[in-house]
């Protein structure tokens, strides 16, 4: 592949934001804004039970109705956005730091350290992420923090692989050889010459993994392993309402649609980020 992009394809890649991406960004911004403003806009305490108003359909007093314990669905949805966002994004952040950090440390120490570290990472990858997260939560106990750590450990290998692949791709290039010939040490070359090239790949990976982290968080809390029961999360709301699906579908539809809106917009933004930061690959796809 030639290094220079054909001008018309380059133009197509840099055409700016597609309407889809803009809508996705607006949806995400709205969810984040609701989560930030949660205590100000919730009409009820999300834990308050109104036992005289169980399974109420949406109406003037309860905008999205009430659930099987008489709790206001809208208030729970808005407060739940906080937990879902914090744990999902936090998990991705832990994965980023852990994966990129361990990968780079191993790479900077040379062949033996690299082989050992990646053998360990391969071992972690041999288990599917949900199963590993589940096992870690059993070991660490339920709660927001353990779930974040579990997500971080389960998704960290992806970042380590990206770091290694980019490292080896760059390490054979002429500018690295030149830097070494000028007497640059291993660490110096890594920090000054290779690290800047790692950033794009790692951010792309983060953008791709973010929706998966959020999905896994919602799966875990749906299975009852997320944060503690007094913290509403969307996954837990779905699980709670699933027993009353026939009588009060609104209580389950609200969190389901919220999860879908969040993960869909995240994956569209991830796609846009990938196209922007990985123009060669995107041009490849556009040409085919």
């Amino acid at each position: 592949m030639s290094l220079a992009l054909p001008s018309e394809v380059g133009g197509a890649v840099r055409r700016g934001l597609s309407p889809r991406t803009v809508i996705a960004a607006l949806v995400l911004a709205a969810i984040i804004a609701l989560a930030l403003a949660a205590p100000l806009i919730t009409p009820f305490d999300p834990l308050d039970q109104d036992l005289l108003a169980l399974n109420q359909p949406p109406g003037a007093e309860h905008w999205l109705g009430t659930d099987h314990m008489g709790r206001d669905v809208f208030s729970r949805l808005v407060m739940g956005a906080r937990t879902t966002l914090v744990v999902g994004f936090g998990g991705a952040l832990v994965a980023f730091i852990l994966g990129a950090g361990l990968g780079l440390v191993a790479l900077s120490f040379g062949r033996a350290a690299e082989t050992a570290m990646f053998a360990l990472i391969d071992l972690v990858r041999a288990m599917p992420d949900v199963l590993l997260a589940l096992l870690l939560i059993v070991a660490l106990g339920a709660g927001a923090q353990p779930v974040m750590i579990a997500l971080g450990i389960a998704f960290a290998p992806f970042f380590a692989y990206v770091a290694r692949a980019t490292f080896h791709r760059e390490a054979v290039k002429d500018y690295v050889t030149a830097a070494r010939l000028f007497g640059g040490g291993r660490l110096h070359v890594l920090r000054l010459h290779i690290a800047p090239n790692l950033v794009g790949g790692l951010i792309t990976q983060a953008a791709i993994l973010l929706p998966r982290c959020v999905v896994t968080e919602s799966v875990l809390s749906f299975l009852g392993l997320g944060s503690s029961p007094d913290q509403p999360t969307w996954g837990r709301m779905v699980a709670d309402a699933s027993h009353y699906i026939e009588t009060s579908p609104h209580a389950i539809l609200a969190p389901v649609l919220a999860i879908v809106a969040l993960t869909l917009s995240l994956s569209m933004i991830g796609d846009a980020v990938r196209r922007r930061l990985d123009p060669l690959r995107a041009a490849d796809e556009a040409a085919l």
Binding site: P128, R212, S242, I252, V260
Partner: protein, 307 residues
């Protein structure tokens, strides 16, 4: 002799890798379960009133007073023979509980896996041979579906539409809907890379020649594209298995299927550690074995892998 060895060595490597991975999983599962504060005797002690002397005796009987490596070896040796101990909550052998739950999960997973691979293959080959816009959009749609839609959300909407509003299916216990949901989800995991790979294969000389000879599109698809598609699909099937685990867990819980997933979650909520350990171990090791098997199959049918 040398050629036989040459052909066999990748198998030996695949087998060795499988054994190492399986051993690693056994160690990880055992050690993580040991991180849990309190042991089986503490759990029992909380329920009944065991005296301190009884607790010590029970710990000795269960081997909990020995060193961790010793316990690991003893536990793995018994697990290898299919003895996972007794459930703390039900007092029954864990192996028996797994035995009753496994057929449901295996049937469910096999059906979803087959549906997923079949769908992905049909869609990718169809899109490449016909160049149909609708099929190409379907490839993208399936791929976005599997990335962005958690299967349990799709399951909830499916129950609402097909069971509650249309009344076509029972809410609980039916396997039709979950198999379709997980099948589409699995197809979405691999359909895009498969499609990309096939598009590249479709530009190769032998397909161009077939087209120039005037062969019918379905014949090109079956005789000239499918042979390249199957090995690629086998290489990608590991990804499907990973997503299948999450899907099976949530679908079993949501649709009330009495499989290993339901068993595992009930055990987690009841802190039934022997059952948790055994269920996770069985799922993880089964995955390693299936992955090794598809890897071997891939090497067998694709001569490029051994040369």
């Amino acid at each position: 002799m040398k050629t036989v060895l040459h052909r066999l060595s990748p198998f030996a490597i695949a087998l060795a890798r499988m054994l190492v991975q399986a051993t690693g999983i056994v160690v990880v599962v055992f050690l993580l379960a040991r991180l849990v504060p309190g042991d089986a005797v503490d759990v029992k002690g909380l329920e009944g009133d065991l005296t301190a002397a009884q607790q010590v005796a029970l710990r000795h009987e269960l081997g909990l007073d020995r060193s961790v490596p010793e316990q690991l070896v003893a536990w793995s040796w018994r697990a290898l023979k299919g003895d996972f101990g007794d459930s703390i909550r039900f007092g029954r052998p864990v192996s028996g509980m797994l035995g009753t739950a496994l057929p449901t999960t295996l049937l469910f997973a096999a059906l979803s896996f087959a549906l997923g691979l079949g769908l992905a293959l049909a869609l990718a080959v169809g899109a490449v041979t016909t160049g149909n816009r609708v099929l190409r959009e379907l490839v993208n749609l399936f791929s976005v579906w599997s990335i962005a839609l958690p299967t349990f959300c799709v399951g909830v909407i499916g129950i609402l539409v097909f069971s509650v509003w249309l009344g076509w299916l029972p809410v609980l216990g039916s396997m039709n809907l979950p198999v379709i949901i997980i099948g589409i989800d699995s197809a979405g995991v691999i359909v895009k890379p498969l499609h990309e790979e096939l598009r590249e294969a479709a530009t190769s000389a032998h397909v161009r020649t077939a087209r120039a000879k005037g062969l019918a599109p379905w014949r090109i698809a079956l005789r000239h594209l499918l042979p390249t598609a199957v090995p690629v699909m086998l290489a990608l099937s590991g990804l499907v298995l990973t997503s299948l685990v999450a899907g099976t867990l949530t679908m079993e819980v949501l649709f009330g299927l009495p499989g290993v997933g339901s068993l595992l979650l009930n055990a987690i909520h009841g802190r039934d550690y022997p059952v948790i350990q055994a269920a996770i171990l069985v799922i993880a090791v089964a995955l390693v074995v299936i992955n090794a098997a598809t890897d071997l199959l891939h090497r067998l049918i694709d001569p490029r892998m051994t040369s």
